[in-house]
Symmetry: C3
Subunit: 471 residues, 3 copies
């Protein structure tokens, strides 16, 4: 994890400067940090400023000139000014023609302007080669050199040679330059630093909602019910007993939600008789966040495992156990060993352990560096085959937990079924549908559809629609 | 894990198309998906087809021309036809001269043809620049944009400039382009999407074999033996008790199999007196899958940990414990505390915990992104030093488990030793051999051999053989 | 984890050799391994040697010529000789002018020479284009093809085209080439293979020191004290009971040490009224190894979890429990259930479980491949927000553990406070300071300072100092 090994070229700012000259327009915070970093890496740095005389905070070794003079010293010019001030650059359009202008700007909100800052700059100065880069690196990261976070510099632009020059500069600063294609990608690059786990939102909202709902349900049927009917205060059960009932329920439901959209998609494709009909929007969104759904489900399973393993050292459990034994002794009872109970208890735990192990395996293969290593066939094998086996194991674990409890009326407090029964609905639906989909006759049709085959009727239908039916 | 951030440029197909024109031969599934993706990224797309009039399913915005006309529109031509139809391309050899032909084909089996499709294409059209690329990306991944799996496009070809052009296109589609060298690599690229965890096979076969063997052994000596001699049915012990005996045994043996080839290699080098003599094939293969052996071993250790931690909440254990206490009370016995037993039990657990922690550490450092971060010296330190310490700890854990049990005849059911004794054989051999190899006198010789030194006699021997003795 | 898929082009050495000729000066171990690898990849290889007649061990298919002749066959020359012998190369300065010289040398010690080997070579042969590369790849890795460790070839040099040529060669050998900028980076590249976890040293020293100190402290107050005052030998408690007391203490202190420098830095910035004043050296170093501090802390937390979960199956615990119950039965006592105790015990475990889960989450996000995927804002969110929540949860876990024990004089053996009290000092300081820093009024000032704002007085001060106050 020595990712800091190359991140700071420990050079004095007055090093040989053999790498040529780089110009920076703007003497703000980012401009100054970038200037110092460039000096340290061995570049000559020239700042372009409105008041070249009055720029006291600039790093030692950097020159300060007027914009026009500065522009003449270098082919690459970093534009470290706000978008609002881009207008004034059009005054120098002559001097900037043919130069590589690096747009490093960020906005305060996503999609703040109809067009990206870089495209706006390119429109203002059509003769310059605008490259979007460095906006994902913070001034702090440049300054401190302790780039704990990403060292990736995303670069996009319409001119290959200009991009190459900017990527070379990024690399000589010890950063990783990644070509992101044409300037059309600038909008995405500008939105990137503003986003906060966009794909995680939906899964986390779902998890929060489910947790709250089942928590209230369990408190009602367990604690409130006991208090109302027997007058006993069981509230201490909230901390672990209830938590350990809610966690596995949420985990199981979210795991099945992870595989439900795939099943729905297959049914839609079967129904439409083609794969070229676009899925509804909600299904697309759902499918995009399956990985995040799965990882949140894994987190809940992890909590469930810890909560379960901690059981025997809880005061509540030990004390209850002690009281039970002492009462047995006093009543002179003899305990018998029931081998069916043993089978059931051990199967329950064994299914849970195997399910959790596969769960963890799925989690590991979704690490970016691991999933990059596997090919499409292997990825499908792990995420689809192993995924459904995990779901099957976890559902079986819950079924064995329930056993025949659902037969006893006493379990239905206030006519409400136990919470675990509710948690089984979605997983069982997914498993049954999946089972139908993998029967040979259905599977054959789906495979053909996925290879591009279409049912005639549909073909005609979308031909007349005249619209591209690809996604 | 926001790996979807850049994977789909959300553009309407009728965008500016500033990125130039790309030609696609073939209107099959992959061709159409690629065409749509290129249109979305801002390219103009021209399809080359036999029946330009009759290509109704193509994405809107794409042109369809005859092959000859289409070829003239672009320098880069994607060949989205099957290898069987490559022959017909030779008719256009004139038009395709100097073009960049991107071979995106895949086969149905590994090494289906003596030469790779790309090399075959290059032979058919010697004046064109053939580049192998995009065959590792699926049509589905291109279409849906939800590239959960790999976004890596492996590129190989003999002409640098052509490769660069194809890599630029891949990047502008939001994919990661990786240069894999000359067209000689095409065969590997074509085999890549067909493989299903090739390096994991041997370790998984070994694990399955060992698991089956020890499972049967334990069932025999534990359950069948009890049933035959005492008439008691202990079969409920299969689910967890037996499983938790088999898992650590398999894990320990596989961990030692992970370090055995290194020891054998060192002995072979000592014996040969040179490092330039090739190892036997089986040893090479064995050494290549050491990482996978270790990870499978870790999975079994993980199961063992979970199975062990679940012990106190099993019905079987709790009930037996209760029955025991009640009988003690009834018989009016007093329990005494044996501090030696406490030492032994705690050492046993402590060694296991430390061993497992090192195990997990080894697993983490074998994650691709982590092992990329460490240099050769650090990698060797972790995998060799820490690896052998792990093996030592786990072997000690098993030895303390055994303690003096092996002295009692009653443990040898049907004259068979307890399973754990069998599991100790390989680890102990590895540890003893390693101990001998790291003694200063032996270590000095090995180090010299590994630095290129050779014993005279051998030198002469392989000189006369006249063959290159490098691997 | 199939990272071996492309690492060895399985070609016979007498393949087409279409990739051009590469020259290697020096016939030592690395030179020979490299030569064989190049032949396998399809290059023609020419060795330059002092005694071309007497080079028997070279791979078949390679030519051996004198240095002058060899130099004329290729534009790229690998210099596989020791730095001590570079002098002799100046004799061929004419022949080497304009050539790409690849310096692959390594030293025996860090910073062995005032200038890097590559820079020294460039000075000796100013007309050649020196590129530093391949020094981070071992001969063994090249030979065996089983590149379990890093496949990264770091390349630096002052001439872009030359670097590109060397990177192309690296890629055609199946390695990953990474541009590291100008030849100024050569010193770092040469130090890189010699380092052994440099950033892990301080954290590991701290962990070792803390572990030793608290271990002795616990042995004193627990075992020695009992032995001296009661004459009882409790030494069996060392193995797990004491270990499980030391682990969480070290983990908690190290976690707080991970967040202390950030708090100190904020206070320093507040005090200085600017962010442009350099932090003291010790603080910089401390901040650089925060990630490693956190991961070592996580390892100790992991041990603590395993040690805690193993509690109920320890002989010591079970036996003590049995003795307790039997004595209760004999004395005819009735146990009562204390619901406050239950609340306390369950809250204690629940806080610990949540704390550990967040801990693991922090660990996962510090995996290189995961942290590369998040942007700056997300990284800050996870590492700062979630990090402080983790610290808060773990501190609360310890506080609940202590409860009111610190009130009882009997706990203060030899007037020493229980160890857990000592472990709370640093975390509480960090949390209180952090709490002050995030109050709106203080937070506003810090935010302004971090955006580049400065207090006037300071501005003048560092203007007069005339030094660049950037880091």
């Amino acid at each position: 994890m020595e990712n800091n090994c190359f991140n700071m070229t420990k050079l004095c700012p007055d090093a040989h400067n053999t790498l040529g000259t780089v110009c920076i327009f703007g003497t703000g915070d980012f401009g100054r940090s970038l200037g110092l970093r460039l000096l340290q890496a061995g570049y000559s740095v020239v700042f372009g400023s409105r008041n070249p005389q009055n720029s006291s905070l600039l790093p030692k070794g950097a020159q300060v000139l007027s914009h026009v003079e500065a522009a003449q010293t270098s082919r690459v010019i970093f534009i470290a000014v706000h978008r609002e001030n881009y207008e004034f650059l059009s005054a120098f359009s002559q001097e900037l023609a043919g130069k590589v202008l690096v747009d490093i700007s960020n906005n305060l909100m996503k999609n703040q302007y109809p067009e990206s800052n870089a495209e706006y700059l390119a429109k203002l100065l059509p003769q310059a080669n605008v490259v979007k880069a460095f906006n994902t690196v913070s001034a702090w990261a440049l300054q401190s050199g302790s780039l704990d976070a990403s060292r990736q510099v995303f670069v996009c632009g319409d001119n290959s040679e200009s991009k190459q020059m900017v990527m070379d500069i990024a690399r000589s600063l010890g950063l990783t330059a990644l070509d992101q294609g044409s300037l059309l990608a600038a909008k995405e690059l500008e939105n990137y630093p503003l986003q906060l786990f966009p794909l995680w939102r939906l899964p986390i909202y779902i998890a929060t909602g489910l947790t709250a709902a089942f928590f209230i349900y369990c408190v009602l049927t367990d604690i409130v019910y006991t208090f109302v009917t027997e007058g006993k205060n069981n509230s201490y059960r909230i901390v672990i007993s209830i938590a350990n009932r809610v966690c596995p329920i949420v985990s199981l439901i979210m795991l099945s939600l992870c595989y439900l959209p795939g099943v729905i998609a297959a049914i839609l494709q079967l129904y439409n008789g083609t794969k070229y009909k676009r899925f509804p929007d909600w299904l697309d969104k759902w499918m995009l966040c399956r990985k995040q759904l799965g990882l949140v489900a894994l987190a809940f399973a992890f909590l469930h495992v810890l909560y379960s393993l901690i059981i025997p050292i809880r005061y509540y459990v030990r004390q209850r156990q002690n009281i039970y034994i002492i009462s047995q002794v006093k009543d002179n009872k003899t305990l018998t060993f029931d081998s069916t109970m043993s089978w059931r208890s051990d199967s329950f735990y064994s299914l849970g352990i195997l399910g959790f192990s596969f769960y963890v395996l799925l989690g590991i293969t979704s690490l970016p560096s691991v999933s990059n290593m596997v090919n499409w066939r292997e990825f499908r094998f792990v995420q689809s085959k192993l995924g459904h086996i995990t779901l099957l194991l976890c559902t079986a674990h819950t079924l064995v937990y329930g056993w025949n409890k659902f037969l006893y009326v006493s379990r239905y407090k206030w006519y409400l079924p136990p919470a675990y029964v509710l948690s089984l609905i979605v997983p069982c639906i997914v498993l049954v549908l999946k089972l139908i989909l993998i029967t040979p006759c259905v599977d054959r049709v789906i495979t053909r559809i996925r290879q591009g085959w279409e049912r005639k009727s549909v073909h005609v239908l979308h031909d007349t629609s005249g619209q591209p039916l690809f996604l």
